[in-house]
């Protein structure tokens, strides 16, 4: 029997699905998959995805073949696009990243990796002979990107908290001070939520009289945290960013991976010259791009507003602190970096890792208190780790 499935949104309302148009066996698979998604989502504490979202109002757009092919700041012959919405999204992020709107350029990406690839691509185009420096705690995709870009690169040691070792960075750049520096700053490392101090990095570049440099910031998660806290670590274009990548499916929350790449318009104009020969002034990395992703991000900001996100971030940070306190109360050593929703604790058993979908790394594991993570869930995890 084909039973229409239903699911629930963050407001608790049921969503009816249309009558099935596929064979019963396929319907059964879909139902089973939906159930798996529903169950697994409830106990996912180790990955930075905010599951509190509701995009039902946008469902009608899925009837159309939208495509944001090309540069959102140029006209497209493909009419079913959301370029104007995408430009508004870029404006929002320009404000948050402290760059005047008319000096910024960006687009909505398929996620953090594309944004990082874009930033490093621009850095490499600006300084083809440059060396990319990044810390040991950088997301693994950076190595993949650097290989693709064939960019020379040197990994620098990290401090125990996940932040780059500035002494090691200084010494290594000192050796190559005549070579342009492309620095990949972690604005929230994947495992420890550590934030590289771009003021210190700029200080090192100044001390060594490095004249050609570029800073790309991987701000996948913390790019949506730091703008909303009272005492943020240095971040933004006014503090030295030349480009930044921020994820859309993390703190904002979305059913599809997405993100934003943002840079200075003047850099993109230079890149445009080098791609002009293909006859299309498309300075994005991909061809066809999602028209729906910009719509979701725009919708989330319309719905919650900056104040709404500020509240979400404050609650998430308070829950992170609560988690640290709860672990420590029962004698389990846990800690977090300042302004981070990532709580680090000793790696528990595989059973606990699987149950709570925790991301372990070596001897440690982390819990990320995204807006959907409740104190009840934190308590239950602490109990499980304690009884492990």
């Amino acid at each position: 029997m084909n039973t229409p499935a239903s699911s629930r949104t963050d407001t608790g309302d049921a969503v009816s699905e249309p009558l099935s148009m596929v064979p019963p066996s396929a319907r059964e698979r879909l139902d089973a998959l939906l159930k798996k998604f529903e169950e697994s989502g409830r106990q996912m504490l180790g990955y930075p995805t905010n599951k509190n979202f509701d995009y039902r109002e946008l469902l009608s757009f899925l009837q159309y073949s939208g495509n944001n092919i090309g540069d959102p700041f140029h006209d497209s012959n493909y009419a079913s696009n959301t370029h104007d919405i995408e430009r508004e999204v870029i404006d929002i992020f320009s404000d948050m990243m402290h760059i005047p709107r008319d000096q910024a350029w960006g687009y909505v990406t398929s996620g953090g990796t594309e944004g990082n690839m874009y930033g490093l691509f621009i850095g490499r185009e600006m300084f083809p002979d440059g060396v990319v420096y990044f810390s040991q705690d950088t997301h693994y995709s950076a190595v993949k990107i650097l290989r693709l870009l064939k960019a020379r690169n040197i990994m620098i040691k990290s401090q125990p908290n996940g932040e780059i070792d500035y002494d090691d960075l200084f010494e290594t750049i000192r050796i190559n001070r005549d070579v342009p520096v492309i620095f990949l700053a972690n604005i929230g490392t994947t495992m420890k939520g550590a934030i590289d101090d771009v003021d210190k990095v700029r200080g090192i570049l100044n001390d060594l009289a490095v004249t050609n440099s570029y800073i790309h910031a991987d701000a996948a998660l913390s790019g949506m945290v730091l703008p909303f806290v009272d005492d943020p670590q240095p971040y933004g274009f006014d503090r030295g960013f030349d480009s930044v990548a921020i994820s859309g499916h993390k703190m904002i929350g979305a059913p599809l991976p997405c993100g934003v790449a943002l840079t200075r318009r003047e850099y993109v104009s230079r890149i445009a010259r080098s791609v002009e020969y293909v006859g299309v002034l498309d300075t994005t990395l991909t061809g066809s791009r999602s028209a729906f992703a910009p719509l979701m991000i725009w919708y989330a900001f319309q719905r919650h507003g900056l104040e709404g996100f500020k509240g979400m971030v404050a609650e998430s940070l308070a829950n992170a602190e609560y988690a640290v306190e709860r672990f420590n109360e029962v004698g389990i050593s846990a800690w977090r970096n300042r302004n981070s929703v990532t709580v680090i604790f000793p790696r528990p058993s595989e059973e606990v890792v699987r149950k709570w979908q925790i991301a372990p790394f070596g001897d440690i594991a982390h819990l990320i208190t995204m807006p959907n993570v409740t104190r009840e869930a934190i308590d239950a995890l602490v109990d499980d780790v304690l009884n492990d």
Partner: protein, 130 residues
């Protein structure tokens, strides 16, 4: 034949565990050697199917690299990597990539690629190359 270098904790049963992973995937070991420093160790293997061996070891959670990179052990102290970089620079060898694979027991294990591997090996010295 390419070597695979596996970063491990120096503990009882680790060789058997690696051999078990490879055997389970039908990969035959040609040779296996170990080096230990403090609490960490390196297991260096050759196998009849290098690609498959690398895949199953990685899937099993081991940190493993193939030695088209130069794997080097250096003291884990400030400026140690910079000293290597300086030596290379003076000799006119470009480092293409330099990645830290492991830091334990006062040593850092580093994977390095350079535009002149032979000269790079000379500069580092056989004592530091894994």
């Amino acid at each position: 034949m390419d070597r695979i270098i596996v970063m491990v904790k120096d503990e009882v049963g680790v060789i058997a565990a690696i051999a078990g992973v490879l055997a389970g995937a039908g990969v035959n070991l040609r040779s296996i050697n170990t080096e230990t420093t403090g609490e960490t160790g390196l297991v260096i293997i050759t196998a009849d199917n290098t690609d498959e061996a690398l895949r199953v070891l990685t899937d099993a959670g081991y940190r493993a690299v193939i030695d088209d990179v130069l794997v080097v052990r250096l003291p884990d102290e400030p400026g140690a990597l910079a000293k290597v970089a300086e030596k290379f620079k003076r000799a006119g060898v470009n480092i293409q990539s330099l990645h830290i694979l492991d830091r334990h027991g006062g040593y850092a294990t580093v994977a390095l690629t350079a535009d002149d591997r032979t000269l790079a090996e000379e500069l580092i010295g056989q004592d530091s190359i894994v």
